[in-house]
């Protein structure tokens, strides 16, 4: 499930050794409401096992973005799209342009004053070396007769630091030459550029790139000042749970877990019922067809017949299992049953195939036809069963993700640029644009902002344009600056009072926590799962068991998006201390209360 995947990812991330910023046509700066600027960059980590992990950035949900476009890079990609990508691979063009962008700075570092402090000189050299090495590597990898390599060797034949100036000139000439090549190709193919922005699936306005109107001004509140109705409802539910649990904690919690799992099982049952009948029917038809095909064939495949009968019986058992949602091992039995079924069908197919291969010379046309029908039914049924298994897995993952309010990245191909997004000739692309989230669209924490850049061509006389995505960036929207939430929390209170000792160690009580938190621009997993907060907790207690609520006030720290809290407090009514553990429900995706999912808690 996703949580396990996340843990695996975290463990793997410990072994990710080198980091780099991904190539992008954008240079993005986030500007907060306070006017502070932050670079927004996609980072790629290369792990020891060779896999590359991409880390997408996060920004404050109320900020604005200054987006600069690297037009040279767009033109190169457009040229490549136009079909002229033989001169030099795009990635290597990027390496050269990156060095040239830093040219002035690198020359300054190369020629640093020899009287400067040794540490400063070492640092300058290190920076030069790190920036230059990718260019050297790629030029050295070119065939020896390549003009670029020949010119680079000429440049480095010049003694002293002057050689670097000569080398930069060689790189600049190369870029200029390729740009001309690409320009010609782009003009010949009437290439255009489009840039679109979306918040989740809603297109939003980008100055100069579309004709969408700005959205209504909406600032996601940073500080919660009122208790949302969701939280009030939860508080009432927790109160109910606490009252029951304080009577018989174990029994109530067992029932809660059972209720929650039954809820999932029922959903799964509906899904299975809706999908299982189709493959079963196909198998049945296939088996009937082949066994009834001809008397000759029937005789020959008697051995296989036994397997087929067994298969039919297994299918019946599986259907029975699928209906028996009261079985505590319902899900695992169903999964095992489906896998076993596939295995048995495969065995039967092999058995039938073997028999057929022995007798196929005497096959009548009707027998061939029957065999083909069986094979088609088999493949179709198997595919459907595998699809059900995948869906079952996805079903659980989706349940957990939705309970934690996690918005998944949307696949780039699903975000289509509408006609409102302009088709700009490459020479008319604005240098930069701005996106103010406050006037974009309604947003909530964890939503995604997507920037999608495409190049396209529509040769004269054709009706449809051919487009290719050249850059696609998902950016997480979170409350990064100090913000607060108010949540209902179910407390497990350990009463430290000697005056009013509790019968059991923990007493359950409903409460509210006001939590202050900071988000992370770099770590999405932190924002989605681990977010830590600190603040105050106010609980209604009953230490003296007089059925009159007492007020407790405590300090609390929280993690896992407030789902787990711990703190200490004081019962203000009877002047006694306590400590507590608090949880919010649904806890890690399991709705122990059976209550409706929280669809949009105030954040």
């Amino acid at each position: 499930m996703r949580n396990y995947k996340l843990h695996l990812l975290l463990v793997c991330s410990l072994y990710c050794t080198s980091s780099a910023y991904a190539q992008s046509i954008f240079s993005i700066k986030e500007v907060t409401e306070g006017g502070t600027g932050y670079d927004v960059k996609i980072k790629t980590d290369t792990c020891k096992n060779g896999s590359v992990k991409t880390k997408y950035p996060n920004i404050d949900i109320n900020s604005s973005l200054e987006i600069k476009l690297n037009k040279d890079s767009i033109k190169v990609r457009a040229g490549s799209f136009a079909g002229n990508n033989k001169s030099i691979p795009q990635e290597q063009m990027y390496i050269i342009s990156q060095v040239l962008v830093k040219r002035a700075d690198l020359i300054e570092k190369i020629n640093i004053d020899s009287k400067a402090r040794f540490e400063d000189r070492v640092k300058a050299l290190g920076k030069v070396a790190a920036n230059m090495q990718p260019v050297y590597d790629f030029i050295l990898a070119l065939p020896p007769e390549t003009p670029l390599q020949i010119k680079a060797i000429e440049a480095f034949s010049i003694p002293g630091n002057e050689s670097y100036i000569a080398f930069f000139n060689v790189l600049q000439d190369e870029i200029d030459r390729i740009k001309i090549e690409y320009k010609d190709a782009v003009e010949a193919n009437k290439i255009y550029f489009r840039l679109g922005a979306f918040i989740n699936e809603t297109p939003v306005h980008l100055d100069g790139f579309d004709i969408y109107k700005e959205g209504e001004f909406y600032r996601v509140p940073r500080f919660a000042t009122t208790i949302g109705q969701d939280e009030k409802d939860k508080f009432d539910k927790y109160k109910e749970i606490a009252e029951k649990a304080n009577t018989d904690a174990g029994k109530v919690l067992n029932q809660m877990v059972k209720d929650a799992l039954t809820q999932y099982a029922n959903s799964l049952k509906e899904m299975v019922k809706a999908r299982l009948s189709e493959p079963f029917l196909k198998f049945k038809i296939g088996i009937d067809t082949i066994t009834n095909a001809s008397a000759d064939l029937k005789l020959k495949i008697q051995k296989a017949q036994a397997d087929i009968s067994q298969l039919e019986s297994d299918i019946q058992h599986l259907i029975a299992d699928a209906k028996n949602t009261d079985d505590p091992d319902y899900i695992s039995k169903l999964k095992t049953g489906i896998y076993n079924l596939i295995q048995k069908v495969t065995t039967v197919k092999s058995s039938v195939e073997k028999t057929i291969s022995e007798i196929k010379t005497s096959f009548s046309p009707s027998a061939w036809s029957a065999y083909n029908d069986f094979e088609n039914a088999f493949n179709s049924g198997k595919d459907t069963l595998i699809s059900i298994i995948t869906q079952t897995k996805n079903f659980f993952e989706t349940q957990i993700q939705s309970n934690l309010d996690i918005t998944q990245n949307i696949n780039e191909s699903l975000l289509k640029l509408d006609n409102e997004v302009k088709k700009l000739p490459l020479e008319n692309i604005p240098d930069e644009t701005r996106l103010n989230l406050l006037t974009s669209a309604h947003r909530k924490e964890g939503d995604k902002l997507y920037l999608k850049a495409v190049v396209g061509k529509q040769p004269p006389g054709t009706e449809t344009a051919d487009e290719k995505t050249i850059d696609y960036i998902p950016i997480g929207l979170y409350q990064i600056a100090l913000h607060s939430t108010i949540n209902a929390v179910l407390l497990f209170v350990d009463n430290l009072s000697a005056e009013y000792p509790a019968k059991t160690q923990f007493q359950l009580d409903p409460s509210y926590s006001v939590l202050f938190k900071l988000g992370s621009r770099k770590h999405t997993a932190y924002n989605n799962f681990f977010e830590i907060g600190a603040g105050l907790n106010m609980a209604t207690l009953d230490f003296n068991n007089d059925n009159t609520p007492e007020i407790g006030v405590g300090v609390v720290v929280s993690t896992f998006k407030d789902y787990l809290q711990v703190g200490v407090g004081r019962n203000m009514t009877i002047d006694q201390y306590y400590w507590f553990l608090g949880i919010r429900l649904p806890f890690l995706g399991v709705d122990l209360t059976g209550a409706a999912k929280n669809g949009g808690a105030d954040k």
């Binding site: 070492v122 050299l125 290190g126 070396a129 090495q133 020896p144």
Partner: protein, 149 residues
């Protein structure tokens, strides 16, 4: 300044000037060891060591010497020409494994030289084939200049 002389007919011609190269004499192992130790243990120099005394080695030394004339970041570069291959064992005791490999990876049938960082780390193995050019040498010096993070 070391000069390489070669007999051409009856004349002896100077065929290269090596401004930035220390020649480790093949006939004086003690002096060679002393020079090599001194070079590698210097903390403010990135270096390339070239092995052998054939024409290929001469050519490599010349190319490395050109690149050693540069000093990006104000940090000096030096070339050591190890003509006596018997010195390799001693050299291996002076350098540390780094992202160019470990001293044990040096294979005289494949490698004509190595580059060494300011912290005595082996940063690159310079291949004999294809014959190294000035860009190869610049790259080798550059690898020796990358700061470990």
């Amino acid at each position: 300044m070391p000069k390489i002389r070669r007999r051409v007919g009856k004349k002896i011609e100077i065929i290269m000037k090596l401004d930035n190269t220390i020649i480790l004499p093949g006939d004086n192992p003690d002096l060679s060891k002393q020079l090599l130790t001194s070079l590698i243990q210097k903390e403010d120099v990135v270096s390339i060591i070239i092995f052998g005394r054939d024409l290929k080695a001469e050519d490599a030394v010349q190319k490395a010497d050109v690149r050693a004339s540069a000093s990006p970041g104000g940090i000096a570069r030096k070339v050591a020409w190890m003509q006596d291959l018997g010195m390799l064992g001693f050299l291996k005791t002076l350098i540390k494994a780094d992202f160019g490999g470990s001293p044990g990876d040096i294979d005289l049938s494949e490698h004509i030289g190595i580059s060494i960082s300011m912290t005595d780390g082996l940063r690159s193995l310079i291949l004999m084939h294809p014959a190294p050019n000035v860009l190869t040498m610049e790259s080798a010096f550059n690898k020796a200049s990358i700061i470990e993070v």
